[in-house]
Amino acid sequence: MLTEASIKQAMSDSGITTDVASLSSEQNFSQYGLDSLDLFNLFVELEAMTGKTVPDEDLDQMKSIQDVMNYFNDKY
């Protein structure tokens, strides 16, 4: 089960340099400056953590930490 803390850890592990601890789970990724390559990195990390593969077409559903939690925890 993914938690806000584990997603933030994945963000740090994936090289995202934003102050991850201060992020709100509802905030849109783009609002704190994450670009497409940051998200590629993040999803590589999340897929490795969960053993799940996220199809390309599902990526657009996940625009915040809360969205990511909902997606993984509802789907798996």
Binding site: D13, S14, G15, D35, S36, L37, D38, F40, N41, F43, V44, E47, D56, L59
Partner: protein
Amino acid sequence: MIGIKSIASYVPDNGIDNFAQAKKFEETVAFVKDKLGAKFLPRLEKGEETSDIAAKAVNSLLAKSSLHKDDISVLIVVTQNPDGAGLPHCSALVHKKLDLPASVAAFDVSLGCSGYVYGLSILEGILQSLGGKNGVLVTADPYSKIVSQADRATSMLFGDAATATWLGENPKWLIKDISFGTDGNGADFLKVENAQLVMNGRQVFNFASQKVAPAIKSLLLKNQISEDAVDAYVIHQGSLAIVDAIARKFKNNENKFIRALENTGNTVSSSIPLILEEIIIGDQCLRLVLSGFGVGFSWATCILERNVDYVD
């Protein structure tokens, strides 16, 4: 013993300001500097063909080394963007432009970003079967021929360049070991359709970040070499973000991964030899890891070691 004796290159002066290009796509300066890594993308000069830049790289090699045209027995050109439709093969055109002897074996290798490492192994094998002699491995894959300037996924990444590597006896560098890999399931993620390059950036990124580090670690383990005992990791410069993602898998050695695409971008099979020429070949490094990876998907990894018996 066959190995690398010298490397030269040709990079066109003509090119594109990547910051200006990024502005067109509403990308930030930070994205260009910190993620793509390339502020300038060289482009073929007007009228220049793949065989032209290949010949220029070989001429540069001939000018800087003691290699003579008459001493060349094998010429390999790594390209997937040859002159015309690829018939005749690009290496034949380079052979003609350089006026090389009729005894030369010349052929193309159709590989992308893994092509330099593959090419080293192919040329080493042929030269060994010939009992020595000299061969030249050329990389020349100008993606500007297939990149649409309107495509945000590819137009900010690729630069044109060519390199020429001399392999022969009494080399400065020896190939200690090499490994290869292919995953044809990735074929659809980077391909040419209707004469234009089409890339699924996420899938290419996933492939590189998942396959390359294990391939390097496996080859080092097989050779009982620790990650710390490598002086520099010279991997394909797909983008700065790709190099960083792979480097992160090597805790304590991240800074040994060379980042050198600021003035060239991703030059496909030329990215590794450009680094070897400019940064590594003359310094005090004793052991290098090379890794090329890309279209196919295809990847190749090798360990280079300085030849302690080299006679200058």
